[in-house]
Amino acid sequence: MSDTLKIVGLTRDEMARRAAQDIPDGSYVNLGIGIPEKVAMFVPEGRELIYHTENGLLGMGPSPAPGQGDPELINAGKRQVTAIPGAAYFHHADSFAMIRGGHIDVCVLGALQVASNGDLANWSTGEPGAIPAVGGAMDLVAGVKTIFVITQHCTKRGEPKLVDACTFPLTGVGVVNRIYTNLAVIDVTPEGFQLVELSPGVSFEVVQDRTAARLLPIPSDGGDR
């Protein structure tokens, strides 16, 4: 386990920064709670993204200055936010029409498990006695065009989160496109997990060792990725 402790890879901020590089200019984006929220801080200069928050705002801005917040202007995580000039408010059915209707370009979410066929589990560990809570996660993965996952490669106990088949209850079937972890960037392809990029100081073997599914190495010719 001492080996595990030494391999840290990217920090949370660095994972968010890496994911931000892949969101095209002009995208309508929904960011999940946690590390995904941080993506907004690292959007490369010159790109304009519009943030959707499913409780009813397109054009979400940063947190308000201390004392300037409004309890009726919040995000999906129920934190106070601001609205940019050009923002729009709408009711919940319209908000989820944007999601389900395929009008949102990119959603970045956290994960408990991702399977090599793109199945995502991120709402419940299925623990008996736990209070189940799903929110908008199932709608987002069913409707948003591109699903990015940002997650630590393993749980705090060292268990792989990238697996052959999810053991936790699913959020969606075959929905994940790309995964950003502290150790690597990995695509979900028809052939399974395809390594795209290793974090600095991390080897293929280290990532494979911590992934409970076959990992396809980066093609030797560099591929077209």
Binding site: N55, H92, S95, V134, A137, A142, T171, G172
Partner: protein
Amino acid sequence: MINKRVASAQEAVADIFDGATVMVGGFGEAGSPIELLHALIDHGATGLTVVNNNTGSGEVGLAALIKAGRVARMICSYPRSTNSTVFPEKYRAGVTALELVPQGTLAERIRAAGAGIPAFYTPTSVGTPLEEGKERRSFHGRDYVLEEALHADFALVRARAADRYGNVIYNKTARNFGPVMAMAARTTIVQVSEVVEPGAMDPEVVITPGLFVDRVVLVEDPAHESALVAEGMSYP
């Protein structure tokens, strides 16, 4: 003459009966009709089915209604939130049952009820535990789940302003479920912080047209849930 104004929150909720299905607007504290909820607690109706995205926080508003043992069943998408301790207790004690619905499906089931659509197919929840017991059908090579409309006897909604016709405008993200719940309930009760003369609201900006609203109650300075929770208030 049409005049949907009623004198008080107490009067507005007076006919909510035991066993009623009550939709409660709000996402977290934004749009939570606290004064109407407190009036409902005072009124005493029990055995309620409550539809809300969450389950309230602290011991005020919706959480206070649950704490008082009035809610037999919650239909919601996310019953876990900061300071949400009342619902887990009642759920584990078997007092309040839970129907968990994906958030977008919840919104659309409510909208469908208001729009006269008995059921619809959605891609949300296909292949997940929340699909269980529902019909699945394929359209153009993709699978969908059949979801039924969600009706209510009453809706309690918080908004910014209304006129005597019941035309309503909202405030920022406090709009959330208000417009669709107003459509779906047999009797819709809206608390507003301002009542204006007909014509004072530009018809172009009216969000909920008056025909969806039955009662308008003026609550000039409505409480915010987080402020009450921070004060340590427990209602009643």
